[in-house]
Symmetry: C2
Subunit: 267 residues, 2 copies
């Protein structure tokens, strides 16, 4: 069993990822695909004229401001568009894919963050109407039911809060929680870079291996979205996943290449 998170950024070759996924599924590999939708959300928000804002935490970490209006845009982009695009690509390749969000069957459940500190200029304000959180429980039973019946789940944010609201969750870390809950052998986090780079964006500085002792250092090197991937890798290893690979989804065979150890391997 493997869990594959596909990034939605520019350069990611979704068709090629689905070609590779289909050939693995045909070969008997059990596979759960996870995706995010940051870029698709930004594009749709621009078309709709919905303002997109960022929250900056006191420690300098940035995240999407997800009020209820942005959440609706996020659901349309992730769940309505990108998830169904991936299902379509897989169905066209003979894979009987089933799209799910983290709300369906309470697949990804966690607390909503009810008070978020945000630095705005020189002030720190408390935001109470944000819909975001972390995945604390995964309904692995639903995924197993579908896998055993021959389906390939394709999972998209949002998750669901303990009070039944949609919550924006980070898809890399949600994929990590999913891999741990399923007892997956490998978690692959594929995007538009070769892996973790010691001097981003210089791709010749790929770090090929990170062991458990080196994760803290790796997280300190990682920038922007890569930091979430490294934290996801750490979560997954702690959760019992044997191996996590941060790999490249820009060219064909990306899943197979990551499985063979191409990219940054955490173990």
């Amino acid at each position: 069993m493997i869990v594959v998170k596909i990034g939605g950024s520019a350069g990611v070759n979704l068709e090629a990822v689905c070609d590779d996924a289909a050939s693995l599924v045909r070969g008997g590999q059990r596979l759960v695909l996870v995706h995010g939708g940051s870029d698709a959300t930004n594009t749709l928000a621009r078309s709709l004229g919905t303002p997109q804002r960022t929250i900056t935490s006191p420690s300098g970490h940035q995240s999407r401001r997800t009020d209820r209006e942005t959440l609706a845009v996020f659901q349309m982009a992730c769940r309505g568009m990108l998830n169904q695009k991936i299902v379509e690509l897989l169905q066209a390749r003979g894979v009987n894919a089933v799209g799910l969000s983290g709300m369906d069957g309470r697949l990804w459940e966690g607390e909503r963050k009810k008070a978020i500190r945000s630095v705005e200029g020189t002030r720190t304000v408390i935001i109470r109407d944000d819909y975001s959180g972390n995945v604390e429980r995964v309904n692995a039973g639903l995924l197993r039911t579908l896998l055993e019946a021959g389906y390939t789940p394709v999972v998209s944010p949002p998750g669901i809060s303990t009070e039944h609201e949609p919550i924006n969750v980070d898809a890399d870390r949600a994929a990590a929680a999913t891999a741990a809950a399923l007892g997956a052998e490998s978690l692959l986090l594929l995007s538009n870079v070769r892996g973790l780079l010691s001097a981003f964006p210089d791709e010749s500085t790929l770090i090929e291996r990170v062991d458990r002792a080196g994760i803290e250092h790796a997280a300190s090197i990682a920038q922007g979205r890569m930091k979430k991937k490294v934290l996801g890798a750490a979560d997954a290893l702690v959760g019992g996943v044997r191996r996590v690979v941060i790999g490249d989804a820009r060219s064909p065979g990306s899943i197979s290449r990551a499985l063979s150890g191409e990219g940054t391997v955490f173990s």
Copy 2:
């Protein structure tokens, strides 16, 4: 087992429908919910500035022109927004709902109509890039798998073509095909009218019962979207469903009232 189609038109009380669904599910009733998304699609298309057009068949029947751009809007509105809203309402009422589109697991499969005749002014043109069709096969196995595992499926258009494209399908007739495939006892088609009216919109002219011999006459009375419901009722009866009720979803208890025979009963 019952299949309930909920209309998305103005006046439909989704919260009340979900209250009623939850109380039935708690009582052990197996339920599949189906919804469309015409009004939600129109609203989103207006926000996005996507022009919405209508196809008029030589026999005068009107349908949505679904080119690939409109299809994307339709998927975002149906699948991304309305479907997940219903899942959220049910989850908040303790029902473990799972949203699916007709593409997921090839739930609703049919041929895409590759040449549609459309009357435009005095000319009849052939449209070849429309994405619509009828549901010819239902993957009842996927629905049964979910129901047996304790989930309540909530199914949304589009369907999937034999060539793996999304296709706009009529949700009333798709619900009828679903009820037949599941061997459901009842199919309820709930919207913002009391039922089939002999003199629309006069609600005092409700037709309370239609038997098999009367269906053709009923279809000739029905106007606009109601015609699809009557055709759906006919499909379902032919498919072995014992009873179809066209009922009112504007006030509380709509599912229970339709089950008790309130509305227009076809049997």
